[in-house]
């Protein structure tokens, strides 16, 4: 951090290692696209804020449709995250801690939803859980459970898309955790399950929380798989992103307000994540 030079830096020498010195070291060919990239990322957000109908904002927020979509979004994203935790954490543990043949293949499969276009995910879910799908028909005839075009369907679609984020984050945390703590727990009489719940999980809690937040954020913004698998029924499957898209066709200002809400929620998550886990010492 300190300048390794002879003597103390004087007032005259200081500018030399300041802005001019640094800017002089950056080629224009890199600086220009970098600034353009920054503008490109920030400008749409600024546009959103600039076009927000601030005067009528309170009324628009109070519209029942907005609140319904928001409530549904928060509910389904939270349920999807819980589902991801219940299924994803053991999966991450398996990938991180158990040597089994085909582990690399399993890890690759887990990450497929990350790169898969969400719409394709939605179609795939329909083919499996649809009324005439591989499992859907059986679920329908045996238990009378119908998944597509229901709120449960929304949760499934969101979980499908968001789970890889959680699995990857938690697997990384598990690999980074010192396994000797688990050995210490064993010497104190803790079985594998107790060790997992009482030692491993607390040790990887930061990674677990970060993964869960990422997962939740991804679920909150899910659009493609949701509209394909669960449709767009207000109050049942119409989440915020779907409502934004629909509002854009009829009432632009309404779409702006809905977008603003999602933006605020996203930034709040980012801020929380940064403060607590990303920049943590």
């Amino acid at each position: 951090m300190t300048v390794a030079g002879t003597g103390t830096p004087t007032a005259r020498r200081r500018p030399a290692i300041g802005v001019r010195g640094r800017a002089g070291g950056v080629p224009v060919a890199l600086l220009l696209p970098a600034l353009l990239g920054l503008v490109f990322l920030v400008l749409p957000l600024a546009g959103l804020l600039a076009r927000t109908p601030w005067s009528t904002l309170p009324q628009r927020l109070a519209e029942p449709g907005v609140l319904t979509a928001l409530r549904l979004s928060l509910l389904t994203a939270t349920l999807a995250t819980l589902l991801c935790l219940v299924l994803g954490v053991p999966l991450a543990w398996l990938l991180a801690r158990v040597e089994f043949p085909g582990r690399r293949l399993v890890r690759a499969l887990v990450t497929v939803p990350l790169v898969l276009p969400p719409v394709v995910g939605g179609v795939a879910l329909l083919l499996v859980f649809g009324r005439r799908g591989l499992l859907g028909g059986w679920l329908d005839s045996t238990f009378g459970i119908t998944l597509p075009f229901t709120t449960t369907g929304v949760v499934l679609a969101e979980a499908f898309v968001a789970m890889p984020f959680l699995v990857i984050a938690v697997e990384g945390a598990l690999r980074g955790a010192d396994r000797r703590y688990e050995e210490a727990a064993a010497t104190l009489g803790a079985g594998r399950w107790t060790t997992f719940t009482h030692v491993t999980v607390p040790l990887v809690a930061p990674g677990l929380a970060a993964g869960a937040v990422l997962c939740w954020a991804r679920a909150l913004g899910e659009f493609g798989a949701t509209i394909t698998f669960a449709g767009n029924y207000p109050g049942r499957t119409q989440t915020m992103p779907l409502a934004v898209y629909l509002a854009l066709e009829t009432d632009v200002q309404s779409a702006v307000v809905l977008s603003l809400i999602l933006l605020v929620v996203s930034v709040a998550i980012l801020a929380g994540l940064r403060d607590r886990w990303i920049t943590a010492p």
């Binding site: 064993a186 010497t187 009489g189």
Partner: protein
Amino acid sequence: MTAHLLDAHLVVDRGGFRLDVPLRVAAGEVVALLGPNGAGKTTALRALAGLQPLTAGHVTVDGTDLDRPDRRAFTATERRSVGVVFQDYLLFPHLTALDNVAFGPRRHGADRRSARETARAWLDRVGLAEHAHRRPRQLSGGQAQRVALARALAVAPALLLLDEPLAALDARTRLDTRAELHRHLAAHPGATVLVTHDPLDALVLADRLVIVEGGRVVQEGDAASVTARPRTDYVARLVGLNLHRGRAEGHGVRVADGLVLTVADRLDGDAFVAFRPSAVALHPARPDGSPRNTWPATVAGVQRHGDNLRVQLDGPITVAADVTPAAVAALRLVPGQRVWAAVKAAETHAYPAV
């Protein structure tokens, strides 16, 4: 011979390295596994704890086989009556000192309240009652060590295992902690196995030393016999003796070509000769008219050693000699200097190397 609480023969094959250590420890006895780094001490400890399955041999505690590869019997770590103090303690960072100590009793079936009571009593015994609610990172090294000891003892283990329990401490803390550890180990009714590469830890804490080198036991015995009669260079260095192996005939032991050391003991056959560095005298020329063992040597190096200086000598045998700074100045001892070394027969100790 009394029945041993721990009766083990630890054989572990691990990629070219073979550990083969028989080990028996009576109830209330403290045995130190002493050896250089990489000797297999920690592997032995892990095998006793069930963290490293045996390739062959057995681990029997109180008559029950815990690990017996030939009968395909293996007891998981969590079902063994062991307590382990790990080298860097491994206190659970998310739990307070109290809950760290209560962890074991809780897993052994105590309810939360009585587990905490047990833990409180143990923290009290190690003098940390007022630190019960601190997290491990708020504890000093010495305090963490004591919490780790309390945590291991709180399950009343038949077998207490300590892996370099003092290695992570600074010199001052180590002194205090060593004395305190000695008190707790003496009070432990079960068998204790201590792994260390520090001879002082071993001499102070253990009733018996087992010296391990290259995965094998090279010497075994109580502190007095090991320090008086080292059998390998490693042990000799540990206890600060010059050690040479040779062939004895009466009072003479041929330790090198052309050098027969006259010794006080009388024996025949393969023998060790040991003498203290302070027993070696240095002369500028060959001392005559004395019944001493003398030989020409070359100074290889001079180091500070306590109040004196330790001179490393090359020659027919490599020897360390402790001399006063005044002698070094008078003899102008610098590397490469030729001197005569002398040792009185009465200052040597010879014993059979069988």
